[in-house]
């Protein structure tokens, strides 16, 4: 009995399928088919966004409200994805948070989004900051939140709000609540003073970490952001050091019979991977920070250097001249399965794996020019984003969408006129801008998002 019922169901299903097929066939007649339009072209213009001053009830916080709007606006603009609208053209003040914005007034300005905010000082002296992001066309709130903090911390809250806006609109994590370390350079070329310096991603809160008496190079952030690893010539001996930003403490990382350089943290922060040069041979090693155990990963009579872990820690990219010229190679985390991935004309150096894992950035030297480029981890899809007399040392924003590198311009014969500056460029290659530093800057390293 049940069997019959089941059979009946199957038959019904079969008839349905056949029926559907027939309907589908009939659909070939244009009149019955639903129209479908593929839109495959669009623009890449920055999104017009109106950022109003955050309102404040007290005069003390009014300045903070204005400054926060300024910081947020500058952050969004720098990303190249937003075009903040001049406040002078606002038809209505962004108004208080409790009232629905007059969307028509913002539409006239071609704004597609509106940021409103308010700052109030609490009874306990803390600051309460709240904001809302509005979609002008849809007339809906996209996101809104409130934060409590000490007044001195308003700038950081502005960065966090910028990240929230960025993430809500692009779907991608932001990178505004981050810091940069770099090498601040000053003095004539023959007596260059190089100091380790740190600043917020937007250039604020700049300070020097070392006094410049020793040469420092290649700083790299730990994933925990509390520590930096770098190369320093202390008493003319090049060694890899670890520097604790909070305590100012420095520590040499192992004492090897040769020269150690090109250090970088592993994604979990537990290991440092670096190069060790001895007798003209350079190989890649890792050191476990807890046990100080050293593991050798490459063993070739060539120069293997600039190692970087992939974000999952399972693979490593480095450059080597084992094939004759300097090229990029990928291997497993334990040194097995070495595979060359760069095959273009010229030399490749300083590979860096994107934090989102999909790309590797590198420096390329070809035809007497330097390029910053990206390729996929299998070596395909190579794209050169920018070039110059000397551009080098790309470092990724934590969301894997922006690179910072340094660009040197040539100096004249007497050694004047040349400068070294930091620049940022996004993955499209179209949004390139200078990262302003008080002195010349090189060897930038981008921190992860501050926890």
């Amino acid at each position: 009995m049940t069997r019959h019922i089941r059979l009946g169901r199957w038959l019904t299903a079969l008839f349905l399928v056949v029926g559907l097929l027939q309907v589908g066939g009939a659909g070939l007649r244009p009149a019955n088919a639903e129209l479908r339009i593929d839109v495959t072209q669009g623009r890449a213009d920055p999104m017009p966004i109106a950022v109003g001053d955050f309102s404040a009830s007290e005069t003390a916080s009014a300045q903070i409200g204005r400054d926060m709007a300024g910081v947020i606006s500058a952050n969004l603009q720098r990303s190249g994805l937003f075009a903040p609208i001049d406040q002078a053209s606002f038809i209505q003040a962004p108004g208080s948070l409790g009232v629905l914005p007059k969307f028509a007034d913002w539409r006239v300005l071609n704004a597609q989004a509106l940021v409103q905010g308010a700052v109030t000082v609490q009874g306990d002296g803390r600051l309460r900051v709240e904001f809302r992001l509005w979609d002008i066309f849809a007339e809906q709130q996209m996101v809104g939140s409130a934060y409590f903090t000490v007044p001195a911390n308003w700038r950081r809250v502005a960065h966090i709000i910028s990240d929230v806006i960025y993430k809500r609109v692009t779907g991608e994590d932001g990178y505004f609540d981050t810091r940069l370390v770099y090498i601040a350079e000053s003095g004539p070329p023959d007596r260059r003073v190089k100091r380790l310096a740190i600043m917020d991603q937007d250039g604020a809160n700049h300070r020097f970490l070392t006094d410049g008496s020793d040469l420092v190079l290649t700083p790299r952030f730990s994933p925990t952001t509390q520590e930096i690893t770098y190369l320093a010539y202390y008493n003319n001996k090049p060694r890899v050091y670890i520097f604790n930003i909070d305590t100012g403490q420095q520590e040499v990382l192992g004492d090897f019979p040769g020269m150690t350089f090109a250090p970088r943290f592993s994604p979990d922060g537990a290991k440092v991977i670096m190069s060790l040069a001895r007798n003209g041979i350079t190989d890649v090693f890792t050191m476990d920070l807890a046990t100080r155990r050293v593991t050798r990963l490459t063993d070739s009579p060539s120069i293997d250097t600039s190692p970087t872990f992939s974000p999952d820690g399972r693979r490593i990219v480095f450059n080597s001249d084992r094939g004759g010229s300097q090229q990029l190679y990928v291997m497993d985390g334990d040194g097995a399965n070495v595979k060359r991935i760069s095959f273009g004309k010229g030399r490749y150096a300083t590979p860096v794996w994107s934090p989102r894992g999909d790309l590797i950035a590198f420096t390329k030297i070809s035809g007497g020019r330097f390029y910053i480029g990206v390729m996929r981890p299998d070596g395909s899809g190579e794209r050169l984003l920018t070039d110059g007399y000397l551009v080098e040392a790309p470092t990724w924003a934590p969301n894997g969408r922006v690179l910072i590198y340094f660009k040197q311009t040539p100096s004249d014969k007497s050694g004047r006129g040349g400068s070294v500056k930091l620049y940022s460029i996004d993955l499209t290659g179209y949004n390139e801008r200078e990262v302003v530093t008080p002195l010349d800057g090189s060897d930038p390293a981008w921190s992860p998002l501050i926890p």
Binding site: V23, G27, L28, R29, P30, A31, A33, E34, L35, R36, I37, D38, V39, T40, Q41, G42, R43, A44, L97, V99, L100, R107, E130, R132, D135, F137, A138, E139, Q140, Q141, V143, G144, S145, A146, Y147, F148, T149, V150, N153, R156, V164, R168, V169, T170, G171, E172, R207, I245, D246, T247, D358, L384, L385, D387, G400, L427, T428, G429, Y430, P451
Partner: protein, 319 residues
Amino acid sequence: MRLGATLSVGLHAAVIAFAWFGLPHIRSEPPELDDIVFVKLADLGEVTNVPPESQKPVREEPKPEPKPEPPKAKPKPKPPPPPPQSAAIPPPPPTPAPVAKPEPKPEPAAVAVPEKPAPKPAPKPKPAPKPAAVAPKPVPRPAPRPVAPPPPKPVAKAPEKPKKPPAEKKFSSLLKDLKTEPPKPTAPVEPKKSLVERAREAARNQSTRDFDPDAAVTVSEIQAVRQQLAQCWNVAAGARRADALAVEIEMVMNQDATVRQARVVDAARMNSDPYYRAAAESALRALGHPDCIPLKLPLDKYEVWKNFTFNFDPSKMLQ
């Protein structure tokens, strides 16, 4: 016997000669025709559809009525006064949701850390009432929509050529490559465009109410809409997995080619995937852009585009 052999040889020779001279001739023609006809066919199709109507010079012309709609931007009938997201807006402060306090935390600031300005603020972003920024959020859906969209499909192919120049630079690809950068050709698309323009004009001027169910929207008419939206749609360049971010939107249209309702088909993914949500919202914003209201659809073919599907696919721009 000999005659038979001669005949046979002669006929065979004739057949071979036919094959030899005749076939190449036949074979060589179609391709040529194909090339030329393919482009024109679309436009001609539109034009030839019109004449029969023009035969009746006197029409009641109910058309002008809906026409003057362009000025107003408001796409949705949504009554403005009642705020859309009642949850989030009303006077009661937006996100009162008190947040995790970043306790002042004494912090041995003495450790000579001038920079670290904050005593570990950890403000902890507070996702507000969760406005769930889905689009108009439709109700049931009365519109019966057959699933099969085959015929108009050719569009996907045709327009791959140079695009309209307005934003000269970033059209073919949003990603720069120094190596392959050279010529962003601003090819002579003009003639085609004007043709499209003309076809549309014709359609507009001669539109009548009597509906021809067989009059599909032509390739050029679809192309006009695509070009219009290319000006309104802002693609987030450099997004991750851009190849998997095509967004389908079901449209319910008004007769004046304004949007009555636009619904993202994959609403579930919109709530779970922030990249997809960003892509979907960029598509919805394009439909809300003043330059894309109303859509440049042939008003006399309302029955055809009353319900249709948009597919916003950024993958071709981001390779």
